[in-house]
């Protein structure tokens, strides 16, 4: 990919236009290299895959699949996953892992419904208080995970596997295993309303993704996330407070599950206790499909958006095509393995270069 220099072999004429032309040629080469760099990334490949999936289902059943209602449907199902995937992208870039997000979602879901019920009445106030409470308890569980990982040095896989079970159990204890079906009308309206043809739920996911995408790629906080994941010792020696940074990311992961729980509550007007046991698989699959490395140090927010849309779109399209939706799990699984294999190949060739 590294095309050598841009200077054309010119004789020793030193007239100005010549030099100007050279500079312009140089700039052109640099632009082309930048484009080549961008094209040679996982998000671009995965966008191709997503496009193929779209085209395939459009060929199968264009009227149903490409209808406005169906596209709204796809984005609505993707929204809670996307919110959690945004935080998971940070965590995985920093070489962290949080398997407990589905359970934290359910726990926050329950707390939100309980708090809204306890505050009582209708209108914005109980909904907002419930939202804050949900994000708060989510962040709390995330912080718990973070403390276990950074201070107690329990591996993230074990810590969050533990909270995956414990937090779901705690949610079941609170509700005795029954869903809470009474939520304020204003929340139901928020879930049903849309702005510019896009559901408020989807808007929330879009805003979260854009804001945290910008933070990841433009700010020092994002840069430190990459450094921690790429070489934790380098981060320490550079004076970055690695533990505090990881704590923030685990808290962010929990908070994102809290927000996703709120979006699910708004969407279904009920808690969904038994509906999130595979959420974490969908989220991690999406993030990895989008090109974020399992080993940290590497990843893009744009990739995560594309990666999350792949399993969701497959699921939706297969139902429309009257194929058993179980095929979605089969297809996503193999796409995931193939994507990671290709990524490994690319990295190995890079390291050999």
């Amino acid at each position: 990919m590294s095309a050598s220099g841009g200077a054309t072999p010119t004789a020793q004429r030193s007239d100005q236009p010549e030099a100007e032309q050279d500079a312009r040629a140089q700039a052109r080469v640099e632009r082309r290299q930048a484009l080549a760099r961008t094209l040679n990334t996982s998000p671009v490949y995965m966008f191709g895959v997503l496009l193929c999936i779209f085209v395939a289902f459009t060929v199968v059943n264009a009227t149903a699949f490409t209808s406005v209602a169906n596209v709204q449907n796809i984005t609505l199902s993707a929204a809670p996953y996307l919110v959690m995937a945004v935080a998971t992208t940070y965590l995985m870039i920093a070489s962290g892992l949080d398997l407990s997000i589905g359970s934290v979602l359910v726990f926050a879901n329950v707390i939100e419904a309980k708090v809204m019920g306890a505050v009582g009445g209708d209108g914005t106030a109980p909904v907002l208080i419930g939202l804050v409470a949900g994000i708060g308890v989510g962040a709390g569980w995330g912080l718990f995970n973070g403390i276990c990982v950074t201070k107690l040095r329990v591996p993230a896989l074990i810590t969050t596997l533990g909270t995956l079970g414990a937090v779901l159990g705690a949610a079941d204890l609170i509700t005795a295993g029954n869903d809470i079906r009474t939520v304020p009308m204003s929340l139901v309206n928020f879930g049903a309303d849309s702005f510019l043809g896009v559901s408020y739920i989807v808007w929330v996911a879009i805003v979260v993704t854009v804001v945290f995408g910008l933070i990841l790629h433009l700010t020092r906080f994002g840069r430190h996330t990459y450094i921690v994941g790429s070489n934790i010792e380098a981060a320490r020696r550079a004076g970055i407070n690695v533990d505090r940074h990881l704590l923030k990311l685990y808290a962010l992961s929990g908070a994102s599950a809290g927000l996703a729980g709120f979006l699910a509550l708004a969407q279904f007007a009920s808690t969904t206790i038994s509906g999130h046991s595979t959420d974490v698989i969908t989220v991690i699959t999406g993030v990895v499909l989008g090109g974020t490395s399992l080993f940290g140090g590497y990843g893009w927010m744009v990739g995560t958006v594309i990666g999350i849309l792949i399993p969701i779109t497959l699921n939706n399209g297969l139902i429309i095509a009257n194929v058993q939706p179980f095929w979605q799990q089969v297809a996503t699984g193999f796409i995931l393995i193939a994507a990671v294999y290709l990524d490994q190949l690319k990295r190995r060739s890079r390291e050999r270069a």
């Binding site: 590294s2 020092r220 450094i227 070489n231 020696r237 550079a238 140090g297």
Partner: protein
């Protein structure tokens, strides 16, 4: 000339092992000082003490004649003492410029700076400036460090430290993993750093390399300094003799 960095009677014990038993050391402005010694002579321990990584049990460290306590590597860095360890501590997925500015990121001016938005172009420009002015062959500012050659990686690590080291730069075996040509480039780089007025301390096993690049040579043996030489007045035989103790005790005289 007074020393920029001076260590007096440093002691450090790990359990039963006396790593340093009253070691002295000095490094001068604008000079390359080689620190040599056999395995286990206490080189790494001394470097760690002098760069703030570990605290000595006893002895004194003087920076520009001032007695100083180095509490941490960060503290040492604030005092202008930088170290390039053998593992380089680079983030392999990030670019050369990103690595140079790790932990010292530059922000865009104005409100964007208050939002902690990075000035990536400016960091790339300054890093490239450093790479060019130090005569390195690091050119591709977009490639991840993992894709660079061993010599280029070493150059990135050294340039990073040089950008911030205004007093002392420790280089721990900088050429250990390099080929002949890359070794040559790194040694040139080491000379250039010294010419900037930094006291460079080179830890090395390679005697010819040491003789080629060092102004002064300090020999460590069994946790103590046993000899000091001017680089141009000594030879490999003399250095090896001092390192192994043959010179002091005339134990290993062979026909």
């Amino acid at each position: 000339m007074s020393a920029v960095l001076e260590a007096r009677d440093i002691t450090k014990r790990y359990g039963h092992v006396q790593a340093l038993s009253g070691a002295c050391f000095e490094a001068h402005k604008g000079e390359v000082t080689a620190l040599i010694g056999d395995n286990g002579a206490g080189k790494s321990t001394l470097v760690k003490v002098l760069s703030g990584v570990i605290a000595p049990d006893g002895g004194e460290i003087l920076l520009d004649g001032e007695p100083t306590r180095l509490d941490s590597p960060q503290h040492a860095k604030r005092l202008g003492v930088e170290t390039v360890f053998q593992d380089l501590a680079l983030a392999p997925d990030l670019g050369p410029a990103d690595n140079v500015f790790v932990g010292r990121e530059l922000f865009k001016p104005g409100w964007r700076g208050r939002l902690r938005i990075l000035d990536k172009a400016e960091m790339r420009r300054q890093a490239l400036d450093a790479f060019v002015s130090m005569g390195t062959d690091v050119k591709d500012m977009h490639a991840p460090v993992a894709a660079l050659s061993g010599g280029q990686r070493q150059s990135v690590a050294i340039c990073r430290s040089v950008m911030w080291a205004d007093r002392v730069l420790f280089l721990d075996e900088p050429t250990a993993a390099l080929g002949v040509r890359q070794t040559r480039n790194v040694l040139k780089l080491v000379r250039r750093v010294a010419e900037r007025g930094v006291a460079v301390i080179l830890i090395s096993h390679n005697m010819t390399e040491v003789l080629e690049v060092a102004d002064r040579i300090e020999v460590l043996r069994l946790g103590q300094r046993v000899a000091q030489y001017r680089g141009k007045d000594t030879s490999v035989e003399e250095l090896v003799g001092a390192m192994t103790g043959a010179l002091d005790f005339h134990e290993e005289v062979r026909p």
